[in-house]
């Protein structure tokens, strides 16, 4: 599992997060919409997983462990966060 719920309810993305992880992540977010996503240990993020994060409007605990995402995507993510 590279997407898991930690003891304190944080949704942790670890290592390589391939396309298959999009659905479990979405289910967890549907179950607990307020859950915090921690992607600091994610080494590589698939577009589908990123889309779930973007669509849910959550602001993950940063920086993203995937350096390319951290450099190019993260600031934009903060801007598109709804509800602010």
């Amino acid at each position: 599992m590279t997407v898991r719920r930690s003891n304190d309810g944080t949704l942790v993305l670890e290592g390589v997060c391939p396309v298959e992880e999009a659905e479990p992540l979405l289910q967890m977010l549907q179950a607990t919409p307020a859950a915090v996503v921690d992607w600091t240990d994610c080494r590589k993020l698939h577009t589908a997983v990123l889309q779930v994060i973007l669509a849910s409007g959550t602001a993950p605990i940063g920086p993203c462990g995937d350096h390319w995402v951290a450099e190019w995507v993260t600031p934009k993510l903060l801007q598109t966060r709804p509800g602010d």
Binding site: V19, A22, E23, L25, L26, L29, Q30, P33, L45, H46, T47, A48, L50, Q51, V52, L54, A55, S56, G57, W68, V69, W72, V73, K76, L78, Q79, T80, R81, D84
Partner: protein, 767 residues
């Protein structure tokens, strides 16, 4: 509001001030290329910030202003008062919107219209036929002129990402391309990972990912339907990029950009560096020539701050940190040389950066920063006022608790005869006392801020008012680095506005009159702040016509401010003071600017509210000087409000040891005074009503009586009162005027309902 938006609000305000200052400097001091560039930079950064928080109306307007300033910069348009006016009006609009944005998180509904109207007004100054600058770029960049202009998405991307691109720009980009990649919904099933393709794009300058259609609510989201648009700008040529996207040619649009489409960014990056270098060099120069021993910390602090801010502004945070550390060390070692070395190093790094553009770090050859063990940086922390105030309150309570400890020490000594323990408690008390006093003053220091922040608004004010009245006025401000408590600095603004407006409106003569009087046509108003002991003084001086005592006398008599005989008895000096009276105005006619008969009155009230005094000196034909004498800090006193015979009095909480109700049978006559026993001590009773010469209320003989037990100057007494009304933190004002000599009062304060409360000086009234 998100952290990003909060940051935008505070930065935008700073930038607006900066831009306004620069515009006024531009007008007053002439249009040198450096000044124009500075104004341009301010607007440019402001526009960038507006883009980040997505306020298109603001961006449109600022974009137009930036285009106008770019033409000024290229000398296509000369600087005129109209251009300055419109640019200032644009800043005013931005400022209003920033307020709206802070209050409601959005711009008002008609912002779009207003923004476009302002943009049109600004563009009307552009020479006919000249296209806005950015459009020029997009046209230049169309390959072979086959397209009239770039697609809108490219312009937007270029525009929005301009700042980000500037920092990533290679020195000589040979090519540039814009990529718009819209993966089909089912792309994930095909095994595509759109991000993976983007990761392969070489020389990426800007990237953005956005939903093609607004995302549905989370429960309805299909995680495997791609709904994204990926936009990017790269300094690679079209063919190279097309190779990466060869499997999805139907989903991607690649537009060739001429590298010239990006020149401003690179030019700006270089310009930016030139500016930063100039700023740092100026600081070095200042440090070298400054031999002010009295304000060493101020000079070093200001130089380090200015240089670091410039570096941070230019996106060299590491250099900025090093400079700031250098400043901290210079302060600690009391040696400007340390900061000078750090500044020189930053200059070297900046100059090296010309060839490499991106600076990661610097460690100049043999530089001191590399050899000196690093100390924690002397960084500035932004802390909200409420948190500081919470600390101030806590320390206040600590002071009260500390006072109780002294009381306990005495009780141990007296009640138990435990001299040894009492002595040890007393020593502890002394230590805590010292620490608390130090803590208190350190925390109050946190609230100190330079008065320059208030001064900054005045060049603009003087400009607008003098223009409106067609007068020539130069403003000089001095002592901007003088620090005082934030509350005082904040509250200084209003009285200063009145004073400066009054000076321009009433004090300064028309150019014609000045010429006839043999004075320079341009009048001077100066605002100067300085410290005198523990007082903070601000003087507003003008070289205008001065105030004629005869006119004041006539006005006062017309307005029946005083009975005629009293008025006649006043000396000329005292007559002048009448201008501070409510309802007095020397202007022959009420004008738009001031002179509604409230100005000077408001000044006096505002200044007195913060425990200050106003005085005025004037000489007919020579000018007027108004001096505001203010405390450096607002000394808050904690008081208890008590009532006796229907009158309220304040008693400092420091003097109160406790309040007790005592049954009449516990009260006995001791010698020729009533008293009672409390904690094994005899406490004499003092009737506050009697002490204050008030008629005593008749009380039921059996009712318990209420006392405030006072301990001051080693004596103890119980003040009999009717009721305790309140406990308050107040600013104590010393007794003034006729009451200045009245004994027994520590001062007065205003209650919430406007009533004046007399605060007793218990030391003096204890019999």
């Amino acid at each position: 509001m998100s952290a990003l938006q909060e940051q935008f609000v505070s930065e935008a305000r700073e930038l607006i001030r900066q831009a306004a200052d620069d515009l006024i400097a531009l007008e007053r001091a002439g249009a040198s290329p450096e000044r124009i560039d500075r104004v341009f930079r301010s607007f440019h950064t402001l526009k960038g910030s507006a883009g980040v928080v997505e306020l298109p109306a603001m961006s449109i307007m600022l974009h137009a202003a930036e285009d106008l300033l770019a033409s000024v910069k290229q000398a296509a348009v000369g600087v005129s008062a109209d251009i300055i006016d419109s640019s200032l009006a644009c800043l005013d609009q931005v400022s209003r919107w920033v307020d709206d944005f802070e209050a409601s998180g959005a711009l008002p509904a008609r912002a779009g219209e207003e923004g476009r109207a302002m943009a049109d007004r600004l563009r009307s100054f552009l020479p006919a036929g000249q296209e806005p600058q950015t459009k020029l770029h997009t046209q230049n960049s169309a390959p072979g002129g086959s397209e009239a202009a770039l697609p809108e998405w490219v312009s937007h991307l270029l525009e929005d990402e301009r700042d980000a691109m500037a920092s990533r720009m290679p020195t000589h980009p040979l090519a540039a391309s814009a990529i718009c990649y819209e993966p089909i919904a089912g792309c994930f099933y095909n095994g595509d990972d759109p991000l993976q393709l983007m990761r392969q794009v070489p020389n990426l300058l800007a990237f953005r990912v956005e939903p093609r259609e607004p995302f549905p609510p989370v429960p309805d989201l299909d995680p495997y339907a791609c709904n994204l648009r990926l936009l990017a700008i790269s300094a690679a040529d079209r063919d190279e990029i097309a190779g990466i996207f060869r499997l999805v040619p139907d989903q991607v649009r690649i537009t060739n950009l001429s590298p010239n489409a990006l020149p401003t960014t690179l030019a700006l990056a270089n310009n930016n560096r030139t500016l930063i270098e100039a700023v740092i060099e100026a600081q070095c120069e200042l440090l070298r020539v400054s031999n002010r021993k009295d304000d060493f910390a101020g000079c070093v602090g200001a130089a380090a701050r200015t240089a670091a801010n410039a570096l941070r502004h230019g996106d060299y945070p590491q250099l900025a940190d090093k400079v700031q550390r250098g400043g901290g060390m210079a302060l600690a070692q009391h040696d400007t040389g340390v900061l000078l070395a750090a500044l020189q190093q930053a200059l070297v790094a900046l100059r090296n950066a010309r060839s490499t553009v991106i600076v990661d770090d610097i460690n100049g050859p043999g530089g001191t920063a590399a050899n000196t063990p690093e100390r924690p940086a002397d960084r500035v922390l932004r802390v909200s006022e409420t948190r500081i105030d919470a600390l101030v309150n806590l320390v206040g309570e600590l002071v009260v608790a500390k006072n109780a400890l002294a009381h306990s020490a005495k009780r141990v000594d007296q009640a138990l005869g435990g001299q040894e323990i009492a002595g040890s408690i007393q020593r502890d008390y002394d230590a805590i006392d010292r620490l608390v006093i130090e803590l208190h003053s350190t925390i109050l220091q946190l609230r100190m801020m330079p008065v320059a922040q208030v001064f900054r608004s005045f060049p603009r004010l003087v400009r607008d008012v003098s223009q409106q009245l067609d007068k020539n006025v130069a403003l000089m401000t001095r002592g901007g680095t003088t620090e005082a408590d934030k509350t005082i600095v904040d509250r200084l603004f209003e009285p200063l506005v009145h004073l400066v407006r009054n000076a321009v409106d009433h004090g300064i003569e028309s150019s014609e009159q000045r010429r006839l009087a043999g004075k320079p046509e341009t009048a001077t108003i100066s605002i100067e702040a300085f410290r005198l002991g523990d007082r903070f003084l601000v003087e507003v001086t003008d070289d205008g016509r001065g105030i004629d005592p005869a006119v004041v006398r006539r006005k006062a008599s017309e307005k029946h401010l005083l009975p005629t005989d009293e008025l006649n008895a006043l000396t000329d000096e005292n007559v002048i003071d009448l201008v501070f009276d409510a309802g007095f105005s020397t202007a022959a006619e009420v004008s738009d600017i001031s002179g509604r008969g409230i100005g000077m009155d408001v000044v006096r009230t505002a200044v007195e509210q913060i425990g200050g005094r106003v005085s005025l000196e004037t000489k007919a034909g020579v000018g007027t000087a108004v001096r505001l004498d203010l405390p450096l800090t607002i000394a808050m006193s904690r008081i208890m409000v008590v009532e006796t015979s229907g009158q309220l009095f304040g008693i400092s909480m420091d003097a109160v040891s406790e309040t007790v109700r005592v049954a009449p049978d516990r009260i006995s006559q001791i010698k020729n005074n009533d008293g009672f026993v409390l904690h094994d001590r005899i406490v004499p009773i003092v009737s506050l009503a009697e002490l204050m010469k008030l008629p005593e209320q008749v009380k039921e003989a059996t009712a318990a009586r209420l006392f405030v037990v006072i301990e001051a100057a080693g004596r103890m007494a119980a003040f009999e009162i009717d009721a305790i009304r309140d406990r308050l933190d107040v600013v104590l004002k010393p007794m003034q005027g006729l009451l200045a000599g009245a004994r027994g009062y520590a001062g007065t304060t205003l209650l919430g309902n406007g009533q004046v409360l007399l605060v007793l000086d218990v030391k003096e009234i204890l019999p």
